[in-house]
Structures are given as structure tokens and as C-alpha cells.
Subunit: 160 residues, 2 copies
């Protein structure tokens, strides 16, 4: 692969250094190629591991659902308490994964966290214009990592 030496030295020190340099380069290029292939496999595997971890975190919620159903026939009243436990458990999982719940009315409207699904009169809602009057569906996420915005109604000034 090395060009024939034009300065007369058949295998002088410079030629040997050239061979060594070309060899190093070829190995670095091969390493680069191997690294690319290895990482492509690793990324797929890492995502699978994450999927397994997150799904496993939700399995106790499924267990609670199973138990709530088993007890439902025996005692329909106890099931309300069961669902309350279920909600706390599910919220603890989501919170443990790093995501908060956005369900506070009265806070200033923030387009990054809220999705407007309705407008209401500020006087009737009892909250200042431009604030969240009610949360129709809670939002979940972390700063910069929104899973979904909260669906809210926003208080506006009454047209006069």
C-alpha cells in the first residue's frame, strides 16, 4: 500500500517510519469502525434495559390492581381506599422516575406546562386573569422534559 520510495532508500528509517505510521492509521480506522458498530448495538441494549427498569417499577401498581379486584366482591367500600393507595403508589413511581405532577389551579398560566382547553371569566372563577382556573387533566414532567402538559382552563378578564 505504501508508495515505492522515490529517494532511493529501499527500506530506510523514513520508509520504516512511514510503514509504521500507515499501520497505526489503519488500526485507528478499524477501531473507529468497530466502535461505531459496537455502540449501535449498545444503544439498542441500553434502551431495552431502561424499558425493563421502568416497566418493572410499575409492576407493584398492577399487583395492587389485582388485589383491589379480589377484595372488591367481598367489600365494595374498601375498594375506594384501595384506589387511593393505588394512586399514591402510581404517583410515587412516576415521581421516583423523576417526573412531577402538574395539577395546581390558581398558578399563573405557563404555555410550557399548560395546554388551554377552555377560557372562563376571572370573576366567576375567583382567580386572577391569566391564571389557571381549573385543571381538567393533570400534566406530568420535569423542567425541560415534559411528558405531557396539564390541560387547563384559564381565567380571563370579563368583556365589558
Amino acid at each position: 500500500m505504501a508508495p515505492p520510495p522515490a529517494d532511493g532508500a529501499t527500506a530506510g528509517p523514513t520508509q520504516r517510519a512511514l510503514d509504521a505510521a500507515e499501520d497505526r492509521w489503519r488500526r485507528a480506522a478499524a477501531d473507529l469502525d468497530n466502535l461505531r458498530k459496537r455502540y449501535a448495538r449498545e444503544v439498542a441494549r441500553e434502551r431495552e434495559i431502561e424499558r425493563e427498569l421502568v416497566t418493572s417499577a410499575f409492576l407493584p401498581v398492577l399487583d395492587t390492581i389485582d388485589r383491589a379486584l379480589e377484595h372488591a366482591a367481598a367489600d365494595p367500600e374498601s375498594i375506594v381506599e384501595g384506589i387511593r393507595t393505588l394512586r399514591e403508589q402510581a404517583l410515587a413511581v412516576v415521581s421516583g422516575l423523576g417526573y412531577g405532577r402538574e395539577d395546581e389551579p390558581g398558578v399563573p398560566f405557563d404555555p410550557a406546562r399548560h395546554e388551554v382547553v377552555g377560557l372562563v371569566d376571572a370573576d366567576g372563577a375567583g382567580t386572577p386573569p391569566g391564571s389557571v382556573a381549573s385543571v381538567v387533566r393533570p400534566g406530568y414532567g420535569a423542567p425541560g422534559r415534559q411528558l405531557r402538559p396539564a390541560a387547563v382552563t384559564v381565567a380571563q378578564r370579563q368583556e365589558s
Copy 2:
């Protein structure tokens, strides 16, 4: 960085080829280093994306829990139906993520999918020795990707 040419040529064709080869090698080594750093960042980001996707898949289950609680006070009976919906929804999420539920009694005991939590008499259980008599807690997983084994009691031959 190149060693001084020992064969007398100050900048002959071989020397120039050597310089070019060393330059190529250094650039390949730098690419390799950059790629390593970039992939380390990407793997972290890919896991975050997967966590967001899986958690988002469970959000409708949280919504159903919220709604079930809201309706509980008005109609305690309807809540049993609500939990049944909840279970179907949660199982559909887990199944959609690629994991099945292992809750069948009567199947042959399989150490890869079952964890023994008790032994029962085969005649009393009505299932053949070596089979699963009852499932105490369902297992979840896919072939080779077990999230957790099913906790089961296993039927055994009566000591005589």
C-alpha cells in the same frame, strides 16, 4: 513529531508521505476519541428518551385511577368496573411494551419463569406432580427478558 530523516533526504517524497500518514493517523485517533465522548452522551440521552416513552405509556392508567376515585363517592358499585378497566389498560400497556403476563396454573413448572413459594399435594391440587398448582403473584416478561418470575406453588407426589 516526525523523527528527523536519517537517510539524508530533508523532505523527500517518502518523508512527505510519512508526514501525511502520521497526520491521517492523528486525525483518526482524534475522531475515535470524539466518537467515544459523543456516544457516552448519546447513550445517556437514549435512556432518558426510553424512560420518557415508557412512563408516558403509563399515564392513561393514572388518568383512569383519577377518574375511578372521582366516581367512587357517587357510585361505589361502579368502581369495581372501573378497576377492571384499569387492569385491562395496565396489562395492555405492559403487553404493548413487549412483556407478557405469566399467571396460568396447571402448566409444567419452569424454573426460568416460576419461583416456588410453596409445595402442595398433587392429588389435593388436582394437577400432575411437577406442575404449577396455583399462581400466588403473576410474573411478567418475554423469552430471555424476564421482568420478574411468577410466584407459584408446585404440585408434588404425596409421600407414602
